[in-house]
């Protein structure tokens, strides 16, 4: 029982980080119908920025917002200079999602190569800002530590902020409208191009947070070829698809589902099956609901 609760705690923490990455993927998908593999590279790059700021300032609380800002700027930059011309060229039909996917894969490669060039063998370090020693409950150490509480708190806070932005602000209304019906939105006076860039920027900030949290929750260090980031990208994407790729709530549910089930498998079945389990979970969900947990029926059209 004790072990099971610990497993759940580990799963929820990991899953909440996947949720953030899934949100980053969903935001870009909703605003431009692009599956953004560059999100992994952006998270990595922003985490390096975070590590550099942390080294200079010594404060996690300065490093995190700066990294988020950097993520937003990087992401907006990519949208503006690469994806927008590409999508304009391929026209409004935009049936071919393969081409943008490949373009973002290319961007991922370039980001990693640039980071490799800058950092080489050096690594970025983001040690846990709070203790990662579990609390002691009736003589035993549980998997809940101040660090885990902090991570869950940050993720929760971000989700609340995102919900408020999306549901209560003009920016949020514009973001939702532009993703559902870009043409009608333009006719209503929304500057859809600008709103798309904003969607990418928010996605970049979410991805940066996911990157920083993944690093402190894991080994505490990042390298340009970091396996943890490939993992974050793949699991974030799988979580987004499980959730229905269109829905922020779905992204959160998908991330938590994935995190918890994978933690259970890791604990009780064996580490080498974790990746295959992710595939099985995805295909089982999609067999029951081809449009994901919270997907819309028509969502398959794009």
């Amino acid at each position: 029982m004790f072990q099971f609760i610990n497993t759940l705690l580990i799963g929820v923490t990991a899953g909440s980080i996947y949720s953030l990455m899934a949100i980053a993927i969903v935001l870009v998908w909703r605003s431009t119908r692009v599956v953004n593999f560059a999100a992994g590279g952006l998270a990595l790059a922003s985490s390096f920025v975070g590590a550099a700021i942390l080294e200079k300032s010594g404060s996690f609380w300065i490093a995190l917002p700066v990294a988020m800002l950097a993520g937003a700027v990087f992401s907006a930059f990519i949208e503006y200079f690469f994806l927008r011309p590409l999508l304009n060229r391929s026209g409004e039909k935009n049936q071919e999602i393969f081409l943008p996917i490949i373009a973002t894969l290319g961007l991922l490669g370039i980001i990693k190569a640039v980071l490799n060039f800058i950092y080489g063998d050096r690594i970025g370090v983001i040690p846990p800002p709070l203790s990662d020693k579990g609390f002691i409950v009736s003589g035993e150490s549980i998997a809940l530590s101040p660090l885990r509480i902090l991570i869950l708190g940050i993720v929760l806070l971000l989700m609340i902020v995102l919900t408020i932005v999306f549901q209560r602000t003009n920016l949020g209304l514009s973001l939702r409208a532009a993703s559902f019906a870009p043409e009608i939105s333009r006719l209503a006076g929304i500057r859809v191009d600008l709103i798309r860039t904003a969607g990418w920027a928010i996605s970049g900030a979410a991805g940066a947070t996911a990157g920083i949290l993944q690093t402190t929750n894991g080994s505490g260090s990042i390298a340009p070829e970091s396996f943890e980031f490939s993992l974050l990208l793949v699991f974030g994407f799988v979580a987004a698809v499980i959730g229905g790729i269109e829905s922020l709530v779905g992204a959160v549910l998908g991330g938590l589902t994935l995190g918890i089930i994978l933690a259970i498998i890791l604990m009780y079945v064996g580490g080498s099956l974790v990746f295959f389990a992710a595939f099985l979970i995805l295909i089982l969900v999609l067999l029951v609901r081809p449009q994901g947990i919270i997907g819309v029926k028509g969502g398959r059209r794009a």
């Binding site: 333009r186 006719l187 006076g189 929304i190 819309v296």
Partner: protein
């Protein structure tokens, strides 16, 4: 005044409009009628900046409206209700309406526009918090026009608002459109296949055939023109 000269529009190899020329005075309600595929939608989409013109000119007052983007034309008073109940079903009625006024700085005036819409279509006022996909076809059309009014337009471009609606509802919608010109002073370019209904409320009529203008004149004259009657009014 809306002044269109020699407007020519291509969809790839297909020429949808061939040198269309006509004028509409401020405050007029003009009906563009024509069969399916005549180029009516293309005309409106070009005027609102969604399609590119190949040749010709179009001016709204002093303002050259070709080569401008839809989102900036809205800011110059041109609002387009596109074909097929142009609302966003996933959003609530209130959100659909608010969308049209997001760009307006003056929130007080935007709130007044909303009041105007609710006065014009009381049924929308009762359903503000419902999602738009729960509305009937007629209500959706009202919402689409309402969203347009939220942008405080001077020139309203309406694409087949009667499409797929019951006769009684069509009557209501046409009444409301007439009111927009008479009571609120808008200029309206109304595109319709329902030629009889449109010509009944319009001041002037423009008959489009295979991308060219076949006839223009006062709506009453067109209604009485035997050739127009035979071709478009069905009797």
């Amino acid at each position: 005044m809306l002044k269109i000269e020699n407007l020519t529009v291509d969809h790839g190899a297909i020429r949808a409009l061939h040198g269309v020329t006509f004028n509409i005075e401020k405050g007029q309600l003009a009906a563009v009628i024509g069969a399916n595929g005549a180029g009516k939608t293309t005309l409106l989409r070009t005027l609102s900046g969604l399609n590119k013109a190949s040749e010709g000119a179009a001016h709204w007052g002093e303002h050259n409206i070709l080569h401008a983007k839809p989102e900036s034309l809205v800011r110059h008073g041109i609002s387009h209700v596109s074909e097929g109940k142009s609302v966003i079903p996933e959003l609530t009625v209130a959100d659909n309406l608010d969308l049209g006024a997001l760009w307006r700085r003056n929130r007080k005036e935007a709130a007044k526009s909303k009041q105007d819409v609710v006065d014009l279509f009381p049924r929308l006022g009762e359903r503000l918090s419902q999602r738009a996909d729960s509305l009937s076809g007629g209500e959706r059309q009202m919402l689409a026009i309402g969203r347009s009014i939220m942008s405080k337009p001077e020139l309203l471009l309406l694409d087949e608002p009667s499409l797929g609606l019951a006769p009684l509802v069509i009557e209501q919608i046409f009444q409301a459109i007439r009111e927009l010109t008479t009571a609120m002073g808008l200029t309206v370019l109304l595109v319709e296949q329902n030629a009889m209904g449109a010509l009944k409320i319009a001041d002037i009529g423009i008959v489009l055939n295979l991308g060219s203008i076949a006839a223009t004149g006062s709506a009453a004259a067109l209604r009485d023109d035997p050739a127009v009657r035979a071709a478009y009014l069905g009797f």
